[in-house]
Structures are given as C-alpha cells and as structure tokens.
Amino acid sequence: MSVETKKGDEAIAAAAQLAATKRQARMGTLLGLTLVGLLALMWILLAFSTTSFWTYNNISNLLRQGSMTAILAMGETFVIITAGIDLSVGAVVGFTSVIVAWLLTHGFPIWAAILITLAFGFGIGAFHAFGITKMGLPPFIMTLATLTALRGVGLLITNGATISITNTTFTGFSRGDFLGVPNLFWMVVVVAVPAYIFLHQSRFGRYLFAIGSNPEAARLSGVNTTRMIYIAYILSAVCASFVGILLASRIGIGNATQAEGWELQAIASSVIGGTSLFGAVGSVHGPLLGSFILTTINNGANLLNVNAFWQRIITGVLIIVIVYFDGLRARKR
C-alpha cells in the first residue's frame, strides 16, 4: 500500500514539475513576446505622437542604423553564451573601416577588399581566443587590450587622418534597397539565418551553451573547448569587421575613431534580448530585438526633440528595468 502511495506522490510531484517547466517555457516565450510587444508599442506611440516617424525615410533610416548594432550584438552573443565577453567589437568596426577604405583607395576590387577585411576580423578573433586559451588571460582583459590597441593601429595606418572612399558602387550599396527594404537590413538577414542555424540547430551551438554552463563538464564529455572558444571569438570579430565594411560604405570614409562605444550597445542589445552575462543563456532573435529596441529609443527621442543627454539616461534606465524583469523570471525557476 505504501508503495502505491509513493507512486501516487511521485505522479503528483512529476505533474507539478511538468507544470513548472511548461510555465518556464511560457515565460520564455513571454519575454520574447514582451520584447516584440515593447517594440510594437514604441512604434505605435511614435507613429501617433510624431508626424515624421512613420515615413518611408525614417523607417529606412531606423533599419539602417539598427542593422549594424544587430549584427554586432549577434556576434557578441556567441561569446557571451560561453560566459566570456568581447569588448573590442567597437574598435574592430573602426579599425576595419580603415582597412577596407585603405584597400579600396589602393585599387583593390570590392570583393577582394571585403574578403581581406573579413580575414582581418578572423585574425583578430583568433588572437583573442589565443590569448584566452593559451595565455590564460581573462576575456575582459584580452579584449580590453585590443579595444585600445586596435584604434591605435588604425590611427597609425592613416596617420590620424580619415580615408575618403571614392568608389561609388561601394558607398552606394548602403543607400540602396532591395524590394523596398534597405540593403543594410538584408545584411542582418544574411547574418541572422546562418547564425540561427549555427546556434540553435547545430551541435556547435549546443557545445557553446555547454561551455558557458560548465567548461570542465563539457571538456570531459569530449567537447573540444579550445576550438569552440576560437569559433566564438572569431565569429564575434568577423561580425564586427563586417559591420566595419557596412559602416565604411554608409559614411564613405575609413576612420579608426568611428563606432566609439558600440561594444556597449552590442552588449546591451544582447542582454536586453535575454542573454545572461553568466553564460549558457541566449538566442539569436533576442539580440536582434534588443538592438532594434535601442535604436528605436534613439530614433524616437530624436524625433521628439529629446535632449541627446536624456537619451543616454533613458537607455540606461531601460537596461536596468528589462534585465531586472528577466532576472525575476530566471529566479522563479
């Protein structure tokens, strides 16, 4: 009889746990929906309170601006999921804008300039991973070092000057659109689709999460943790160099001081999108939403003639509020 009671209790406990898991799943979707809802709400409010928000020009502009943060944030997310951090992405954007501008002004064809610039990104990411895995430096320190060093290298190359890009095909790309949608936004799609497959549907994605959760357990389960760290930092830096190319195309110059502070935008977007700085929690769609929420705030504040200083404060407050609610959700587990 006691055995039966025990079974009954187990069934109840199991049902309770199942309900809890379902609740978690629902709350996960809820956060996703909250972000979509928040974005939609901001767009609706802005559409009603300003005449200029819901115009083709402004929306295009918003998508162009948000695209760059979005791509940076996706790359950054791979690193954060491993419980690391990449502070260098803003500097990489500035540095690679110089590289691509230099290559174009020295007669390289566009395709070659792009490939070589991306290769630079690859090399920077590999260098980060080398410092972290082989020299044992903390990711924060390693990427903080390249954050300052890369800007220096970029300034040395141009001797502090700005390289103007005269290739109009190159600069025209960022102004153009396809099917009525800005080319830059299409670039988000080009990055996001493979990123989604990589993170959520390939075994490497699973490995990134495992490393973020417990690197030793991952290693003892046969995961090549060193290789995965290399992949994460290389992806982040390649995404950043890709943004460097897009930025050069958009503003028509190469300058190592560009994209100052973008690493913080990328990290904030990622965190708003539900990525945990402790690792092992994150997605591709979260940072995408996060970056467009941040961009909308800036865009809307401009249209509403809000003081630029206030924009920074609003962004800061919003990060605290969103991450606080996300933390509440996580603590309920």
Partner: protein, 511 residues
C-alpha cells in the same frame, strides 16, 4: 515512553527539556509537497540523526530550521515559545547553525580570518591580525582540530576546510548545530577529530542534528534517529533499539537483499594495462583491467587515484610509463582520444565536472554523442529527443521533462544523468570515480546493478571509492593507493575478509 536519558529539571512524561519542537511542519513548493506534517522534537544535548533517501525532505528540513525556507504551515517552538524562523538571521540569533556539505567560506583568507569573519577583532579601527591568529589557534587546539590558524584556507584540503567550517559554526554561541553529510570528504583521522568535537559539544548541552548516508556513523554517534521518506516522518527511535536493516527498511519501504549487488562474470580479454604510468599526482602505477572485471582503487582523498584516471582519460597527459589498449601501446593526449578509443569517465564531482547544471537533462545526456545526431549540418531534432528519452527511461531518471535543467533533479538522479550520457555513447572501459557519494541507497543499488549489466556486455570497470566496504565488495581486484603510489594489490576473492579490512586501512593510511 520512559526515556532513559537524564535531563536536568524534567520529570513529567512528554515534557522533557526539548530545545526545539516541530509540530505538523509542512512545506509546499507550488504543487510539490516537500514536507508533510512532520512532528519532531530535539532535546538539549542529544545527537539526533536524520536519515532518508535523497529527495526524502532532509535538505528542505534543514533549510527550514536555518531560516532559508519559510514553512507553509505548522508550528515551531524554541524552548517552549513559538518562533517564526523566517530568516537565516533569526535562526542564528537563536543559536541555530549548520555545517553544510559544501564549504561556504572565503578561500583567499586565512583560517583565522575565516573563523572571525563578521566578528573581527578591531582596535582603533585596525584589524588585530596577530591576536586573531593567536586566538584562532587556541580555539582550534581546544576543540582538538590539528589545523594551522595562519594558513590560507585555499591551501587546505577540502576535508580540512570542512573542519574549519565546523569550528566556526561550533564556537559562536551555538546551541543547535546541524551537520549535513559532514564526513563525505574527511579522512579517517579528520572524522575522528570531528566525532570527538561532537562528543564535547553534546556534553556542553548543544543539540546536534546529524544527517548522513553512512549508517554506521549514526550508530556510532547518535542517541536517537528519525527516518524521513517522501517528505513524511516514518519514525523516531532510540539508536539502541534499532539496527541497520530496520533503518534501511524504513528509508526505502522495501528490503534490499544485498546492497552491494555483485555478479561474478568470467573475465575476457585484457582491455587496458598501464606499466609504471607516471603523471601529475601519481607515480609508477601498473594495473590491468580485463573484460568483465572490476578493479577497485581504494585510498584517501588526494591519494592520486583521481589524477591517475584523469590521465587515462586524457585530461592531464602522462609524463612517463606506458598505456596499452587491448594489447597495443597508445598515446592518450586529449579527452577525445580516450573517448574515441572507448573509455568513459564518470568524474568525482557531479557539479564541477559531470554536469552542465543549468542546461537541460536531454542536452547533458546527448553531449558526448551530438556528432551522431547530426544530419548534414543540423541536428536531427527527432533523433535528439528520442536519444534523450531512451536514456531517461533506461537509467530511470526522475525528471519532469528532458528540457528540465539538471539542477532541478535530486543528487541521485543527477548522478544517473552522468552515467546515462556514457551509456548513450557506449564504451569498453568505464571509470567510476566515487559514483555513490551523496547518493541514496536505492540509487546505489541501481548503480551496482548497472555495473553487472556493463560487465556482461564485455566492458571493464575501474571503480574509485573511499568507502572500503563498497570497493571491497564490488571489486575483483583491489588496489590500494597512498600518496600517489600503488602500495598493495589484492585479489579480493581469496583473502579472509575481516583481517584484510584492517590491513587495507593501515596501508591506505600509512600508519
């Protein structure tokens, strides 16, 4: 009714000097009923053991006594007065303290600084380091712990750190001290020091609550023992009036013919042999494992057994000697080499080495085999789910779903995940490093039965355990480690049992 223990000033029946009384204590987490109307009383100056399987509610009970969780219903009386015990602070103010299984102290501070943490000696705003070290040393000497007060905590073994935590908890006006599996990481001498301290505290009138899976300790130390099962109190008995079989029967509501389940399987071909293998933490180790054979590695924590198997697994490559796999010399440089050859490791620490705790049960189970679940570039989601579900069924993991985080499971079920992921992968040699630490009796038997299943399939097993009866009963060949070296080897079938136990112990201790 008529209790034998003498307590000052109590004569009425049922009105002994109970320090803490729990009445119909109840705790629910959502729909989960973790504790069911538990009635317990703790007398001043008694050692009260609490036993039960993992998930029986022992941890929940401790957390409620120490103010971490607040009860759902029921009453708690401290010296006859109702109390809330709503915060850890309140519990400590009453004099309720606990020594947890995991050490929660500051590793970068000295032993003395840890002892005085939060209560430092200050003169004119300056910390009195020397005075604190002197006083800490006196405290340690007084309670009979052989520990240096000026050493950094991180320079001590886990067992010694545990003693520091014990010293800290027992010297702050504590009147009610809870020990949760205190001997798991202790050597024999350290355990003896701890037991002596418990005896002294008891004589001072401190109430001790002692939670352990090791029933022989319960019989050695406790006055009374309470059994919990599925959140309910089964019974409270005087230790003198019960025995091990009765306790186990109460804990699991079924009889276990033989806990150390063992089948004899004829040995097959040699799977692994090491010759004078040397690496970080061990030297000149030569062992051989055949198909169907269990070799046991016995010794103290830190004797080099874990280092030896981690080296076999490619975690830290050997510096000398040779490994032969199925007769051929091999070089194991990485975990991947070991895994692809057919070695599986269930490591010593589930939390630190075995599991990705905040990730799903399914991901943990599939981690070694994702390569096989891939179709082209992407994972086949059906195969991924099927493989996880199959393993959950096969090793009977109690979990809400395959997506539930591993941290939501009980210790025994977590261990089953670590075992399950290697069954999923398959191997010829399974290494189990302390597989039953912190695991309840029921799960233990399941793990032992699993050994038999693996052996029948032609696998070999290396079993590391610091619990002599376990290695002794389960191994075909027993090796004793001391300070990184193999000091003795036995064919366990041939030797007189009782005499050997003593010999093995002395060899492991090196006395």
């Amino acid at each position: 009714m008529n209790q034998t223990q003498q307590q000052g000033g109590s004569n009425q029946a049922g009105a002994k000097t109970s320090l803490l009384v729990l009445k119909k204590l109840d705790k629910r987490f959502g729909a989960t009923h973790a504790l069911k109307a538990v009635d317990l009383d703790f007398e001043a100056g008694e050692v009260h053991a609490i036993v039960g399987e993992n998930g029986a509610g022992k941890s929940t009970l401790i957390k409620m006594l120490t103010g971490v969780h607040v009860r759902s219903s029921g009453e708690v009386y401290w010296e006859g007065k109702p109390v809330a015990l709503a915060t850890p602070h309140e519990a400590i103010n009453h004099g309720i303290n606990a020594v947890h299984q995991e050490v929660v102290l500051c590793p970068h501070l000295t032993v003395a600084a840890n002892l005085f943490l939060g209560d430092e000696k200050v003169r004119l705003g300056m910390l009195q380091h020397r005075e604190m070290v002197r006083e800490a040393q006196k405290i340690l000497d007084d309670i009979g712990f052989k520990l240096p007060a000026s050493a950094l905590l991180s320079s001590l073994t886990i067992g010694q750190q545990q003693l520091v935590a014990t010293a800290r908890a027992s010297t702050r006006g504590t009147r009610f001290l809870i020990f949760d599996e205190p001997t798991g990481y202790l050597t024999r001498q350290e355990a003896a020091q701890l037991f002596a301290l418990i005896g002294r505290l008891k004589a001072q009138g401190v109430t001790i609550v002692y939670i352990s899976h090791r029933l022989e300790e319960v019989f050695q130390l406790a006055d009374r023992v309470s059994i919990l099962r599925d959140g309910a109190l089964v019974s409270t008995q005087r230790v003198a009036e019960t025995n091990e079989e009765k306790l186990i029967a109460g804990m699991i509501a079924r009889t276990i013919e033989q806990i150390h389940y063992k089948e004899t399987i004829p040995f097959g071909e040699e799977i692994l042999r090491t010759e004078k293998l040397t690496g970080k933490g061990f030297e000149d180790v030569s062992v051989r494992v055949r198909a169907g054979e269990v070799i046991g590695l016995y010794g103290l924590i830190g004797a080099g057994r874990s280092e030896f198997v981690l080296s076999l697994f490619g975690r830290s490559p050997k510096t000398g000697g040779q490994i032969f796999w199925k007769g051929k010399p091999v070089d194991i440089r990485k975990e991947k080499d070991a895994i692809s050859m057919g070695i599986a490791l269930v490591p010593e620490s589930r939390r630190d080495q075995g599991l990705c705790l905040n990730l799903g049960v399914g991901l943990n189970l599939n981690l070694p085999i994702y390569k096989r679940l891939v179709k082209g570039l992407v994972i086949n989601p059906f195969a991924e789910r099927a493989s996880a579900d199959k393993q959950i069924r096969e090793v009977q993991i109690k979990t809400a779903s395959r997506e539930a985080p591993a941290s939501s499971l009980s210790g025994g079920n977590q261990q089953k995940i670590v075992v399950g992921k290697w069954l999923n992968h398959g191997a010829d040699l399974y290494i189990f490093d302390e597989p039953t630490v912190g695991v309840d009796v029921g799960t233990k038997v399941e793990i032992y039965k699993l050994f038999a299943r693996l052996l029948k399939k032609g696998a070999g097993i290396i079993l590391i355990s610091s619990y002599l009866p376990e290695v002794y009963d389960l191994s075909d060949t027993l090796h004793v480690f001391r300070r990184g070296r193999l000091v003795a080897s036995y064919d366990s079938a041939n030797v007189n049992e009782k005499a050997l136990h003593e010999t093995i112990l002395t060899q492991a201790l090196g006395v």
